[in-house]
């Protein structure tokens, strides 16, 4: 609506951004290389590098080009610009890393958690890991990107408990937990959403800007990617499909999660799905197994019908502990391809996609933070 006000300062900031982004794509470059890469003239690049070096964002590495011609100085991003914390929290444990603006991982800490250890223990594991990582890197932890195996409130970043859905990690506020260790923003999202982003970047949905990722594990979730971005909805609860109305046994309409309750596939006195029992059934051969399979296929079909109706994806990606059980995807595909609006189904291909997705975002976020550091504060 209102275009930005033109100013010479803006041009300079743009030049600096070009230089910084080049050095984020390539760890070390001479000024001539930056010039060639950006299309900006050599003198202008020299100016910018000088400015950025004075500001401490860029350093002369001391290395020189070899080969014909005069030796050029390699520049790179200053070490000490800091790193981002990436962490994935599940009821089984916490995995944490530190990544720098180049995308290099500087260390990984894995902490296993006992079953039903609870959110306090998870929080402690997270802070400990963050402190350890903070010691390993030259600068500070400037931001954190967290993947959690529970629904996440979009405003606050807290994990939330939805009725009749499992609360796997439990009541946790990563932003508060990390307040002392991480200086900047803490971004939190659902593991399924991160997984979908990872598959979109480099997995089976690469370049597909509209797809749906269905996660079938202890919890039931899905990510909706529309116009290339995971859509989280007002509260961040888009894709929480436990209560989606679908077809249960005998063609009765019921909530998705209900189907598992009726089939006796929930963990005792819990709303989480009994994955071992379910995989056992999916592998079984008896009449009973056959019946359960067909009920599940129809129930999943109902969920997919909803996803197709509301999101019109180009494809559906299926992941999760039991979603990848052999035979399940073909069975669902066979059923779904006979419905009025079939859509291709694919199996998720990445391992630990939630960490991959969160890591990519952490790098992006850290990079844009550094770019903003170069520009003087936009008035105040």
């Amino acid at each position: 609506m209102t275009p930005p006000k033109p100013s010479l300062e803006m041009l300079r900031a743009l030049t600096d951004e070009n230089v910084l982004r080049s050095l984020m794509d390539h760890p070390r470059l001479t000024r001539a290389e930056i010039s060639a890469r950006t299309g900006i003239s050599k003198p202008t690049i020299s100016d910018s590098v000088q400015r950025l070096a004075r500001a401490g964002l860029v350093v002369d590495t001391g290395e020189r080009t070899t080969g014909r011609g005069r030796a050029g100085s390699y520049y790179s991003l200053a070490p000490g610009l800091g790193a981002a914390l990436v962490a994935a929290i599940t009821p089984r444990g916490v995995v944490a890393e530190a990544v720098d603006a180049l995308g290099h991982v500087h260390g990984q800490v894995r902490t296993a958690l006992e079953a039903d250890a609870g959110p306090r223990v998870a929080a402690d594991a997270l802070t400990t890991a963050a402190r350890q990582l903070a010691g390993k890197i030259p600068g500070r932890l400037r931001l954190a990107v967290i993947s959690a195996a529970d629904p996440v409130d979009r405003e606050t970043g807290r994990l939330v408990h939805l009725p009749d859905a499992p609360f796997l990690v439990g009541d946790l506020d990563p932003s508060a937990v990390l307040a002392g260790t991480v200086t900047g923003p803490v971004l939190v999202d659902n593991d399924v959403n991160w997984a979908a982003r990872a598959e979109h970047r480099a997995g089976c949905a690469r370049g597909v800007d509209d797809f749906v990722y269905l996660h079938l594990g202890e919890g039931l979730g899905c990510a909706v990617v529309n116009d290339g971005v995971v859509r989280r909805g007002h509260g961040g609860l888009a894709g929480e499909i436990a209560h989606l109305c679908t077809a249960g046994p005998d063609g009765r309409a019921m909530a998705f999660t209900e189907v598992f309750a009726v089939l006796g596939l929930r963990r005792p006195s819990s709303t989480a799905i009994d994955v071992p029992a379910l995989t056992g059934l999916l592998a079984g051969r008896g009449e009973q197994a056959e019946r359960v399979r067909s009920v599940l296929v129809r129930a999943i079909g109902g969920v997919l019908a909803a996803a197709v109706s509301l999101a019109d994806p180009r494809m559906v990606v299926i992941g999760g502990e039991w979603g990848l059980c052999p035979g399940l995807i073909p069975a669902v595909d066979a059923y779904f391809s006979r419905t009025p609006r079939p859509v291709p189904l694919t199996a998720a291909v990445l391992s630990s996609p939630e960490l991959t997705g969160a890591r990519a975002r952490a790098v992006e976020e850290l990079q844009s933070l550094i770019v903003r550091m170069a520009a003087p504060a936009p008035e105040g």
Copy 2:
């Protein structure tokens, strides 16, 4: 990822854009007013106005300021910059307008169509209306924005027929139909999507960036607004909910459109809903009416459960011929507020929202087209 290359030309283009946008918000302004409004200095504005006047985009109106001080010259957008065609096509008729870059409507043409007139007749009505409007405006019709009462293919802009869903207007390719009369792009979308955009701009969902608009009329449709934008999905068919799996009579799972077939509420030998019969039943008092109402409420509830699960809206807007029947929304609300994830329901408030929505988009698009005319072609 790759920031734009800085250049002085870019600054100038930005200044010009500031000037043009100012004159799009306010029909006439002096250079001093533009300067004050944009925060750009007077000499710079004078330069830009001179440039734009030479290019024929801006003209001195000849009017002068009155009041204290020296009289200033009022400038405005040049007439003859052209207009955009806005049209809404339904099986009942075609409504077409021409709007200019200031949002002024330059004429309206309404053509009634006989029932089942078919797409050829609608196409003729559209071209005739476009030709008439083209004669009434100073410049050319530079683009068109079309609302159609059928699903629209996102790639081609053609109306498409989905299985078991009514095809109200019928096979029509607005882009081809208008090729002779409109010089620029032809944007086509579903009437429900345009209505949702209108309610988002200025209706009951103003400022709500995540909501779902449920249209209950002859056809069943819905629009999903996420992060402030209507999400159309890969093929433009997001929101086509005829086959969404929901609860029918006796709690049986079935497609949404099936429910109406079972209840005998479809028009004879058609997949369109019999709206008169339905409104009659909704107003009725007998036991039969009661039963139908409760079935409908549950069926709609199932659809809303899907929308809430997948899109997490802040609110649900209900519109359409029978969606606004007295008593329906409260009944659905009473049912839905007892489900695990209730969301506020509201009635749509705008009249002919599809035209309003399309008009707003036409103005935006025409404005950005004019802005692009000011900038020299980005290399070629």
